[in-house]
Symmetry: C2
Subunit: 308 residues, 2 copies
């Protein structure tokens, strides 16, 4: 099977859409809605670094696209299209079948078009560049936090990190935290709803402590959060109670939840969003004037995820 057959068979599922020219020319062409700007983000997942070697093709595809969609979510952007650079050790049709089918499912869920890509031979690696749109004068930036904003996070933290730790130690993670590790659900709908409601937002991919610090640095402000407010699943709660290792939920990374700050006046709107999306949002602290991140209840420094 050559590259062209491979693309035709597994990656050319787009129906004809007059706004796009997809796979099959030197470039893909895309029309952008008027009065909108683009938001774009790229992430690479490498076998053995970002996912274990025995991860199913379907989970690899889901995670590769989800971590990118999570970046769009953090800006409040609406997904539009993505490109895929896929490096494969060999042509394994059953692997490609699972990968392609899962990628299609997640992209259709968010009305996202696969517009082009490149396939190369080498160690298994997936680079996705996802692009979305935003109304021309709106975006959730890291730099927008104000003093006295309330800090929220979505869902629970530390699930993926605990699953990964258990896998590395040859233990079996529970189904719920394994699902968060293998097939995280990007908070795209939440991000869109937060436009005009939240002052700042980031996705928690490197761990809450590091990612909240990015908001604080960009906004030139500080924050006080309390570890007893951090939302935890039962399995992570049990782990933390046994080990006192608060660094796992605070700095474990791979959460793909949103951390955002909301002015007091908008809390009512946020409650409506919570109900409408049927989503768990937890208040974990407040933005302060001094430029430190104070974590009440934590008496050590955590080591955040390092890319090198």
């Amino acid at each position: 099977m050559n590259e062209f057959d491979l693309i035709e068979k597994y990656f050319n599922w787009q129906t004809n859409n007059p706004d796009f020219l997809g796979i099959g020319d030197d470039c893909a062409l895309i029309s952008i809605p008027e009065q909108h700007k683009l938001a774009t983000s790229v992430d690479t997942l490498i076998e053995g670094v970002h996912f274990p070697s025995n991860t199913s093709a379907a989970d690899v595809a889901h995670k590769a696209l989800a971590v990118n969609l999570s970046d769009l979510a953090a800006m409040g952007a609406t997904p539009l299209y993505f490109t895929l650079a896929l490096t494969l050790p060999n042509i394994d049709e059953s692997w490609l079948e699972g990968f392609s089918s899962s990628l299609k499912t997640l992209s259709e869920k968010y009305n996202l078009f696969l517009l082009g890509g490149d396939t190369t031979k080498g160690h298994l690696s997936i680079t996705i560049n996802v692009t979305g749109t935003l109304p021309i004068n709106q975006a959730l930036l890291r730099s927008g936090a104000n003093v006295d904003d309330i800090i929220f996070v979505s869902s629970t933290l530390g699930d993926a990190a605990l699953a990964w730790q258990k896998i590395q130690r040859d233990k079996t993670p529970g189904a719920k935290i394994l699902k968060k590790f293998n097939t995280p659900e990007p908070q795209v709908l939440l991000g869109k709803k937060l436009l005009g409601v939240a002052n700042s937002c980031i996705d928690i991919s490197d761990g809450l402590e590091q990612d909240l610090s990015h908001i604080l640095n960009r906004s030139k402000l500080g924050a006080r959060i309390d570890i007893s407010d951090i939302p935890l699943s039962d399995e992570v709660l049990m782990y933390v109670e046994n080990t006192k290792d608060w660094c796992l939920p605070l700095a474990g990374g791979d959460d793909y939840e949103l951390c955002f700050t909301v002015p007091k006046d908008n809390i009512d709107q946020l409650e409506l969003i919570t109900k409408e999306l049927d989503i768990k949002l937890t208040k974990i602290g407040v933005i302060t004037k001094n430029q430190d991140l104070e974590i009440v209840g934590l008496n050590k420094t955590c080591t955040s995820y390092q890319h090198f």
Copy 2:
């Protein structure tokens, strides 16, 4: 050095531009000129597959961006921005220095912004996704060729393939063909000028025979070209005379020149472009009604570049 320091030191050279929000948030934000659509393309280069292991960091950066710009050129698009997914075996500051500096030089030449990226640890690999703009009703497509269009190619063919062959056989390629292999110059200016002049266009990355066939398939037409018309550099001409191996310039790949078809009525305009850009364009054949590619003077079948 962590990922953030690395990005700040080597990849955050953008000056402030009100149309962009670059590195430093979850996504980059981009404003698109009105009445324009986007053209986007992605290519991955892997050490040992697409470039030899001893290639300089500067040449790797140039080639990784140039092969992507070549795809924009083939659509007639104006470069706007790119994202970079860089996988490195380790942090080698002198390598990063050379890579970053060369990438900056080529991107500034075409007014192209580096808007974001990802750095990961692994076998050296570079994925660039480049995006450009096109007036809303214009593009050079593979599907636009008409019967009796004249077929042209830019510059000379086979130089990169001969350089690569010599490197693999421990011979030293001449400086000119080595330059075409290591630092190809994308035909961005030519592509833009061909809008409204050429009926169809493709970049010759997989070899003329295969890439011209893509135009023919998409346009549902044929072509007759003559090997004696293929433009060759002195070194490739000598090689072909010695070996009779016409498959090297016809199917060697890695040329990054443009192959395009022009209706007879536009030949005068093309001559003006040739003078204005001071560029070598060679007529190699004509588009025909029957759906075959006839190569006069070639009495064998060439094996084109296969990605797997």
